[in-house]
């Protein structure tokens, strides 16, 4: 079977599993909702202030929520030794990685689509800059979090304290991506500056780390 074929089948299997259990999306949604509510108590912003800080709030909420889903990525493959079966099968490891990363990307995008209206309502948000740019930032930023997150989740599943290790690795490496997402979002919402530099930086970040992930994944999957 081709790389794309394996990717497609694995992705389809994960989506079906998620559709039936709704484990990842439910826990992410509720977690993000809690973060939104707690933030609005913590800061109590006016409309103008919330436009200034919304970029940071939105992405921190999504980052925390994404970690919840990312931690479950590989955990479900441990049951019945599915991951070991993958290892001995001739299917390319990169296909498995791409399927998992795409799956997580879709979960987080669904989360963002559902949470965005809530942010608008709770924080009285109204964008000054063009909204389509937010979609670009959203797509690139989500991929930046998810591609490294899927990789580090595969690493943290091998460590003693699984759930803790993922954010400990993901957050420091994601700092430039997070900075780019937050600043791009803020400059679009306030209309004060062009987000062009940050969008380019995110594109470079995505390209670089997708390459690194794909080239190292097989090594990490087979680490004994």
């Amino acid at each position: 079977m081709s790389v794309w074929g394996v990717t497609q089948r694995t992705l389809w299997k994960d989506l079906r599993l998620e559709w039936r259990s709704k484990d990842a999306i439910n826990s992410m949604l509720f977690f993000a909702l809690l973060v939104v509510v707690i933030f609005s108590f913590a800061f109590d912003p006016t409309a103008e202030e919330s436009r200034q800080i919304a970029g940071g709030l939105i992405w921190v909420a999504f980052l925390f929520a994404a970690v919840v889903a990312l931690n479950q990525t590989w955990a479900r493959e441990l049951r019945n030794q599915v991951l070991d079966a993958y290892r001995v099968s001739p299917a390319p490891a990169t296909a498995l990685f791409m399927a998992k990363a795409l799956g997580n990307f879709l979960f987080v995008v669904v989360l963002e689509a559902l949470m965005a209206p809530l942010f608008v309502v709770f924080y009285n948000l109204r964008s000054v800059g063009p909204v389509y740019q937010l979609l670009i930032v959203g797509a690139l930023g989500t991929w930046a979090l998810v591609v490294n997150g899927t990789f580090f989740a595969a690493m943290s599943i091998r460590t003693r304290s699984r759930e803790i290790m993922l954010p400990l690795m993901l957050f420091p490496i994601s700092i430039p991506a997070l900075l780019a997402m937050v600043d791009a979002t803020t400059s679009i919402l306030t209309g004060s500056a062009s987000p062009a530099f940050w969008i380019r930086l995110l594109a470079i970040y995505d390209l670089v780390f997708t390459t690194v992930c794909l080239s190292l994944f097989e090594t990490v999957l087979n680490a004994e």
Partner: protein, 232 residues
């Protein structure tokens, strides 16, 4: 090892003392900042040694993934640990110097922030080494080391742009081009001394890691043998 190590250690000690003399006595007192500026002779060499250590860690990690030798993994571990120690020194001496000179302990300036992020990345690396179990530790650590090193230029680029957009709370801070020649001598002596000291630490740590590995292997071997004995 038995002969060269003490010689190297004594030479390092000599270098460190001479560098201390250079920094505290020979180098002239800075006009505006006064004696507190002398912390510079420890701050800058520590930073360079830390960056060099992280580079060694990156090379050793790639070497490990390519060849899977025990030595390259031990070198990666040793250089990361020593690098984090020197990076911590940079982050501690920085505020001590900044407080009397700039009037603030910390500013989110490009160089400070990048160094802090670098420190965070390599602390995460050491955490992973501690939490990972068994024989897969070196592979996972080497993978994270590559991620960390690839991230550094992107971090620097992003933070530079982030800060140049905003008004700088502090202008300057580096010694600039107007450094007194005697100051340069002190800087170079201290750089040599700290590089020697860093190498000495890495050397020691490397041998510790190798011995630890031998001890573990011996334990595993003994457990295996006693199992075989029980089976019979």
């Amino acid at each position: 090892m038995k002969k060269t190590f003490p010689i190297f250690a004594i030479a390092t000690l000599g270098l460190l003392s001479y560098a201390l003399y250079q920094a505290l006595v020979v180098a002239p007192t800075e006009v505006t900042m006064g004696n507190v500026q002398r912390i510079f002779y420890y701050h800058l060499p520590s930073a360079w040694v830390a960056f060099a250590m992280f580079f060694v860690n990156f090379l050793a990690s790639i070497w490990y993934l390519a060849k899977r030798t025990a030595g390259s993994d031990a070198l990666a571990l040793a250089s990361a640990e020593v690098g984090v120690v020197f990076c911590t020194i940079v982050l501690l001496t920085g505020p001590i110097w900044a407080r009397p000179v700039w009037g603030i302990w910390w500013t989110w300036d490009a160089r400070l922030t990048s160094t802090l992020v670098l420190w965070l990345i390599y602390v995460a690396y050491l955490m992973l080494r501690r939490f990972a179990s068994g024989g897969q530790t070196p592979v996972l650590a080497a993978a994270l080391a590559i991620f960390g090193f690839v991230d550094v230029p992107i971090v620097y680029l992003s933070i530079r742009f982030f800060r140049t957009q905003h008004p700088q709370p502090v202008i300057g801070g580096g010694p600039g081009s107007g450094l007194d020649p005697r100051m340069w001598t002190a800087v170079l002596w201290n750089l040599a001394a700290f590089a020697a000291y860093g190498s000495l630490l890495v050397w020691t740590r490397y041998h510790m890691a190798m011995v630890e590995r031998q001890v573990e292997e011996a334990h595993a071997q003994r457990a295996l043998e006693s199992d075989e004995g029980a089976d019979q």
